[in-house]
């Protein structure tokens, strides 16, 4: 297993696409800064009536979820696209071990980069807010736990890996990933209460906030949110594992 982790880590970092995707997550900082700045301007002209900026992480949560998911997609879709998956499978004993190794590597990279990005986004938002009373201080437990949860939640990038394994196609996996991550947010508008709240609470970015115990972030508590999020990941990996084992490569 250690051998396969070393192999997959080398594969991930020796492709330029990985660097491009990780670099593109920096766009979350620009988005956060812009949104926080615009909310601050509203506060200056209208006073304390609108939504506060808070940690500022909510502004880019959907974007980073898709981009980290893309990291998971690319960890295997390139191998399916080129056919290299056959060479890879010849070198490993059981296909599911390969999938597990890829999942661990993707989740670790996403969590580490996601954590750094979460802190950077938080600091960007607070810089834009300046001294106005619409930000959030890390000394507030809810703010710190939201930042930490956002980092941990990036590990949901593994969903992309599972989808790409099931669909064996880069574009297909990207569409499925974006749909899965964003569709509930769109659907929720058309549903009556309390369905809209439940549906909206089931998206990965929302679950991440609930995992951090952010007030008013959704229908579930931290424990339930963790279990649902872990359930998504495990279910996808299980399905992908069955597919890669049973299917002719």
């Amino acid at each position: 297993m250690i051998n396969l982790l070393a192999s997959e880590w080398l594969k991930l970092r020796s492709l330029r696409a990985t660097a491009y995707v990780l670099a593109s997550t920096l766009s979350a900082l620009a988005l956060t800064g812009l949104a926080a700045f615009s909310v601050s301007r509203y506060f200056d002209t209208h006073g304390a009536g609108g939504e506060p900026v808070g940690t500022g992480l909510g502004f880019s949560a959907d974007l980073t979820a898709v981009l980290f998911g893309l990291l998971g997609v690319l960890a295997i879709s390139g191998e399916y696209g080129t056919g290299m998956i056959r060479l890879t499978l010849i070198t490993v004993g059981r296909p599911w071990i390969l999938l597990l190794a890829k999942a661990v590597v993707v989740a670790t990279v996403a969590a580490v980069v996601g954590q750094a990005l979460a802190f950077a986004a938080y600091l960007t938002a607070q810089a834009a807010v300046g001294g106005r009373p619409i930000g959030a201080s890390l000394s507030e437990p809810a703010a710190l736990s939201e930042v930490l949860a956002t980092g941990v939640g990036s590990a949901a990038a593994v969903l992309g890996l599972g989808l790409a394994t099931l669909l064996r196609s880069t574009p297909g996996a990207i569409v499925a990933l974006a749909g899965l991550l964003l569709a509930p947010t769109m659907v929720e508008r058309f549903l009556p209460a309390p369905w809209n709240d439940w549906t909206g609470s089931l998206t990965v970015p929302s679950l991440t906030r609930q995992l951090g115990g952010v007030p008013d972030s959704g229908a579930f508590g931290p424990l339930a949110a963790t279990m649902i999020l872990a359930g998504y990941v495990l279910l996808t990996l299980l399905a992908a594992s069955c597919a890669i084992t049973r299917r002719d490569a």
Partner: protein, 305 residues
């Protein structure tokens, strides 16, 4: 040792391989031969555990590929050299495979040297020519120093020097006691490298033989050019030979066209020496006496028709 036992593989309504059985023994290069679409690649994929057989079994050293404890140390394969991610350098590509098999970087350096890619090791594979990719594929197959090698059409895209080097490499690998299974759709190519031939067509076994046996079975005839053809034909037939005189339908490589008064005979059942002796004894002049051997390519076409 590779054993294919009553293997059948069906894709939807297509029967790609049908009740195929053969062995590839250690110490030999086994040529796996068949026209395009005969089922060679399918069989190799089943042997390598990539495709599940519909029925029957394929074993490497007595076990199914997926049950091998250290797959890379037991079997190395090259199926399609174009199936690599071009964004990586050749070294990183092989190093990632080496990591997966728990092999040291020294093996990577060694196989790169063996296939002559040391100079290009740090270049991205995307810039490689077809021949370089082919050599990289062979390097990947050799990486784990495996006892069993499976190569699907390895000479494709190689230049003459590369082909010569590959042949020598495969011969030496077999001489070291390894099992080498080599597929091709070209009989002439494979007959220069292989000891044993497994010929398939439409997913079925046609021949499990050796190059020498196959050549012996398809012994040709003797071309005789003589001004006394009619009399000579009678003499030879009396000696037990079969003589054909309708040479017009044959495409015969000739040193010279028959001149006026001469006729050509195609004789089977007697050696050139016996024909010459019979001609002398009967007083018939002979202007040409050429033993013809059916080429392996022709016998292959005949077998797989």
């Amino acid at each position: 040792m590779i054993e294919v036992l009553d293997l059948t593989k069906v894709y939807g309504s297509t029967r790609a391989v049908s009740g195929l059985s053969f062995h590839a023994e250690p110490g030999q290069v086994t040529g796996f031969l068949g026209p395009n679409g005969a089922g060679k690649s399918t069989t190799m994929r089943v042997i390598l555990g990539l495709h599940a057989p519909t029925s029957g079994r394929a074993l490497i050293n007595g076990v199914a590929k997926r049950d091998l404890r250290h797959p890379m140390r037991e079997v190395g394969a090259m199926l399609d050299a174009t199936e690599v991610q071009g964004g990586r350098s050749a070294f990183d590509h092989l190093q990632a495979l080496a990591h997966a098999g728990g092999l040291s970087s020294r093996r990577v350096v060694h196989v790169l040297e063996e296939v002559g890619l040391t100079g290009a090791a740090r270049k991205r594979i995307a810039g490689f020519s077809q021949g370089m990719r082919q050599r990289l594929g062979i390097a990947a197959a050799l990486l784990g120093d495996p006892g069993v090698l499976i190569l699907d059409e390895p000479v494709n895209g190689l230049d003459p020097d590369g082909i010569r080097r590959l042949r020598a490499l495969l011969r030496s690998l077999a001489a070291e006691g390894r099992t080498v299974l080599l597929s091709s759709h070209l009989m002439t190519e494979i007959s220069l490298t292989a000891d044993k031939l497994v010929i398939i067509s439409h997913g079925r076994l046609i021949e499990d033989t050796t190059v020498a046996q196959l050549q012996a079975r398809f012994v040709g005839d003797v071309l005789v050019r003589s001004p006394h053809a009619t009399r000579l034909a009678g003499v030879l037939e009396a000696a037990g030979a079969t003589v054909r005189r309708d040479t017009a339908a044959e495409t015969i490589p000739r040193s010279a066209a028959p001149s006026a008064g001469e006729e050509e005979l195609l004789v089977t059942g007697l050696s050139a020496a016996a024909i010459g002796d019979a001609a002398l004894a009967s007083g018939c002049a002979v202007h040409e006496l050429t033993p013809r051997r059916a080429s392996l390519e022709e016998s292959f076409l005949e077998l797989t028709r």
